[in-house]
Each structure stands twice: as structure tokens, then as C-alpha cells.
């Protein structure tokens, strides 16, 4: 079921997708900065939903709860990636939009869930298994 937040992410991604990255007028920078700030706000809401689900499970991390959030993060990530194209266009003109750090931090947070979730999970599991195996051998 689509939540209101999902709907906002989807419709905002469509609006950002309709922007012309080739614009060079002054309002382009303002539009990009607005888009970045809005993506950060939507990311904050996703973080709150995520924290709420974790709290509902008594603070216990469960893979199925985490996986249930992946589609929303993927929608966010796909939409925010379109904004990055506009950021690159500005950077090529020597303009560094305001709010870069906040936006890119949110982008990496989303990437962990949207793109790299399985890789990270497998990698952490490998390390844990190796550690357990060494501890058993040492004992």
C-alpha cells in the first residue's frame, strides 16, 4: 500500500525529472537548492518511519522490517539521483549549490538501503562468521 510519504516521493521525483538540466538561468540554482532541501526533508521523514518500525519491534533489528523499507528508499534514491544530474550541471558552471553536505549525507544514507543493502548485510555476516570461527578455535 502506498503511504502519503511514498506518494510525495513519487510525485516529487516526477517533478524533478521534468526540470531541464540544461538551463543556465539564475532560477535554476534556486530550483536545484530547493529540490535538494526537499529531498533532505523527505529523507528525514523516511528515517522517522524507519525509527518508528524499529521501536515497534522493541528496538530489535529484523531483516524483514528493514527490507520492507527498501522500496521507499529506492524511490527516494532514484528521484534524488535526478537532482544530482542538475547538481553536476551547476558544478560544471562553477556553482556549488548550498546544502551539498546535507543532501549528499542523505544520499549515502539512502544508498545503503536502496542499493547496497544485500552487499553490506552479506559482508557484515561474513565478518561475524569469521570472528565466531576464530573465537571457537581460540577457545
Amino acid at each position: 500500500m502506498m503511504t502519503l510519504l511514498d506518494t510525495h516521493i513519487t510525485s516529487f521525483a516526477a517533478e524533478v525529472g521534468a526540470l531541464d538540466a540544461g538551463r543556465t538561468d539564475e532560477s535554476h540554482q534556486r530550483d536545484v537548492e530547493d529540490a535538494m532541501a526537499l529531498w533532505v526533508s523527505l529523507s528525514d521523514r523516511l528515517e522517522q518511519v524507519s525509527a518508528r518500525r524499529l521501536a515497534a519491534a522493541g528496538g530489535e533489528w529484523r531483516e524483514e522490517d528493514a527490507r520492507s523499507m527498501i522500496p521507499a528508499y529506492q524511490r527516494w534514491y532514484a528521484g534524488a539521483s535526478k537532482t544530482r544530474e542538475h547538481i553536476r550541471a551547476l558544478r560544471e558552471r562553477g556553482i556549488r549549490p548550498q546544502g551539498m553536505s546535507e543532501f549528499m549525507r542523505a544520499f549515502l544514507r539512502a544508498r545503503i538501503m536502496a542499493v547496497d543493502f544485500d552487499t553490506i548485510l552479506a559482508s557484515l555476516q561474513r565478518l561475524e562468521d569469521l570472528d565466531n570461527s576464530r573465537a571457537r578455535d581460540a577457545g
Binding site: W61, M69, M104, L108, R109, M113, I120, L124, D131
Partner: protein, 92 residues
Amino acid sequence: VSAPFLIKYDDAARRALEALPAVLRVRIERALARLAANPVGESKRSHGLRPRGQLFELEFHLDGSDVYVDVMFRYSQDETTLQISNILVELG
């Protein structure tokens, strides 16, 4: 002063690091040495429903680009080693 932690890379993290240009790799390795000296102060627990681990966030400027890095790691059971699971890099 306590001894720094050792650093061990999982294959995924090693591959990510080795795929980077040398100048970038060196900067990240220097930052990881800083992390090894003070992992409690330099990192935080991963938030929300992200896979459980420690997260080290790094940000620096290099050759006209902003570089944003997330390093995921866990402590070894004997608390001597930082086991780096993944390194994610984005240029802003």
C-alpha cells in the same frame, strides 16, 4: 594512551578501496588510521533499519570535487580490530 585498533577489510571493502584512484585511496586510508585511533569518538552506530554496524562518515575536498564517504565496520569480539565491511564513495 591506548593502542590503535588493527584494521581488517572484508573483500567487498577491499575491492571498493582498490577500485579508487590512488590519491583518493590514500586520503581514505589516512582517515581510517584516524578512526583506528579513536573509533568510539569518530563513528556512530548505524541508524534506523540499516544493517547493524558502526558507521564512519567522512567528507573532504579533492581536486575541485567534494568527496563523501561512508565506511561500515564492526568491532572484532576481542575488541582489537575494526573489521571494515563496506566503503561507499560519492563525489558531489
